[in-house]
Point group: C2
Amino acid sequence: MQKRRIRLHSDDRPKQWYNVLADIKMNPPLGPDGKPIGPEMLAPVFPMNLIEQEVSTERWIDIPEAIQDVYSMWRATPLIRAINLERALGTPAKIYLKDESVSPAGSHKPNTAVAQAYYNKEFGIKRLTTETGAGQWGSALSFSCSQFGLECDVYMVRISFDQKPYRKTLMRTWGGNCFASPSDRTKAGRAVLERDPNTPGSLGIAISEAVEAAVSDETGQTRYSLGSVLNHVMMHQTVIGLEAKKQLEQEGVYPDVVIGCAGGGSNFAGLALPFAHDKINGKEVDIIPVEPAACPTLTKAAFSYDHGDEAGYTPLLAMHSLGHNFVPPPIHAGGLRYHGMAPIVCQLVVEGICRPESVNQIEAYTAGLQFARTEGIVTAPETNHALAQVVKEANKAKEEGKEKVILANLSGHGMLDLGAYEKFLDGKLEEVELPAEVLERAAAVLSQYPKPEILKSR
Amino acid sequence: MQKRRIRLHSDDRPKQWYNVLADIKMNPPLGPDGKPIGPEMLAPVFPMNLIEQEVSTERWIDIPEAIQDVYSMWRATPLIRAINLERALGTPAKIYLKDESVSPAGSHKPNTAVAQAYYNKEFGIKRLTTETGAGQWGSALSFSCSQFGLECDVYMVRISFDQKPYRKTLMRTWGGNCFASPSDRTKAGRAVLERDPNTPGSLGIAISEAVEAAVSDETGQTRYSLGSVLNHVMMHQTVIGLEAKKQLEQEGVYPDVVIGCAGGGSNFAGLALPFAHDKINGKEVDIIPVEPAACPTLTKAAFSYDHGDEAGYTPLLAMHSLGHNFVPPPIHAGGLRYHGMAPIVCQLVVEGICRPESVNQIEAYTAGLQFARTEGIVTAPETNHALAQVVKEANKAKEEGKEKVILANLSGHGMLDLGAYEKFLDGKLEEVELPAEVLERAAAVLSQYPKPEILKSR
């Protein structure tokens, strides 16, 4: 009987996060004047202890015991050896999946949500605001706020709010509040609604609303929390890759290929960064962020400076961007509908440390269905993009006759995304194309900002 | 940092199921003539290898390696020490929960579904039919059939089918077919629809349909599969209690109280039977099946012979029954809406080995919400009944100043039951009363059948 689940020895649980900023050069975020911003400019938005993490270049940052304690409610997560999928594909590859779906919120998102709730609580904050796409992040932050006694207001992209009504219930169950975005609660939201009352919304718009709601609270006790993109978020997620590496060590293997779906970049980075660290230090490993063909940031968009949100409240970040006013087509993987990408992930792509790929929606659900029928777990639409790439790499290994080791992130379960599965099973899920004029439009938007440097860390 | 999750050492995984029939006397099932039925009478309904298990009095039955292999996709399940809940209640009690929600289908149900799919496959069967209440069982059997390449037809109680549309999608995702019951696909279904076209359905009716669909397949390659009630189902579920016992041993404790919600009885029995075995052998332990006040089989109904289904297709079973034609009020815990109860559980109640309790719907959701906000996991409505009893016992321990050890079964997650949480959060979940005339009506129905003996095993 072959081992299907590799558990981490409890002594091997990470006590520190890995901070890739110790190992790569980055273009700094810029303020409205085009000059690098100082930490103090972020103070109305984030607590200072998190801002310090955002800019730290220490390679290892201690995980406070209170965070380790909450992590231990579901971590270390299992590493799954997908034997049934391997057999179904007839591949000589060994497929391993890091199962982040076992968290209370059903995804990797609590890894940073718990940390952010903790640091805000320590800083004396009473309420967090945030945006959410598919709803995974809003759920994760609601759960995490319930652990530390904080209030939580979530602005949810309207198309997901409508497609997934139970996500709101889940947030409420943990005591959070959830509003469809754009809403009439903020200036940013009202401006969008005036232009386009029927907009499906976007992560960019929802971020604008959440940031505005935080900074406009006159008591000073509200801060904003971001579930992806930022450096400290990527760092908190490294527990995924650190655990996976130890688990593979227990198996006596090292991955040839590391795969994660990428929307804002956090689940990908969480798994990939510890392996990127090895690659920077000379190890060979193919590291692949996978994005939807309908929102192809890394594979199609220019590396440029752009705002992280629609209204332009955030600093300019150096990233691949489809333009901060881009409203992505309504694909079902709401968590991958973002115009930009984490600057850390972009820098790794610029340096050739990561090799981005894109897959389309039908490919993704086809892989998800095959996975459910072999390995049992019904995965999130976002995760299905990673699985589609896993299938491609496993088939490639078969063609090449190579016993490759493939590691991918099972970023979340799909129990609250079954509406999309229903459509797919009925043959009604349509392929969504990227509108042809998007890249031209993006070029026009991005031309107004400075160009980031092409930095090489090696 | 206190340990929150107790994992089973992998060498300690059960290799055998515990069969309580070795330790207690039981009234036999009766045929239409009022005489005990022989195994051959069940042959059109179940494969002979499962019928043999149903009547076996061997204390330990080997778990085939192929079943252990599928179990290993999620078993051993974690035992959770509910530290946060203990703190919130201010109780000196130690609360442990066996987390069966981590299976692919989200509940304990695959423990027997996998076994039944395996034995049917071994017997040459191509398709299984079954009923489902809340949808947990139908999902579990669909998943299990996908593991062994069997077809799966599920008759789902209409009220749950309507309340939980995504359960159907989940079954389809694993390749199963799902029909609202009563349906027009069977004689039994059509008869009910004629009498009452707007019936919410019941487990009893759905069982009739699934049995009829199995026995009327002229190829002889279809059998019926039951997710609860029967002896072999209770036995397959004992992996829960066997694991929990070892995990508590690792903690150096033995439970004072063992709790499970009880609809048909399988998750309760799965946790409780290994402890009932100890109690039969002189150990002191309070074993509590918890049922909804709106469907109070063990706490209100007579111990009698009755059919397991609405149409009277099944043999007469010795059990507490509200009458096989009882249509339970539409409470949200669909898995607890059953007129009868597993004969094994009933016998244990008759003998005083188990002490049944009932809780109402609002108590159950109140406990579920408190659990979600302390321990993170959003539990199934059925499970919430067990949690309500946990809270009562923990409060009792507080009053008595006793450091009791409470063990309960977290039988499933509530990710597909959020509609009911939404109602509860909106204050719109109403208390459901048992109609006053039910017990009188039941007495009239049951008076036509023989009386079971009051057997004492000790």
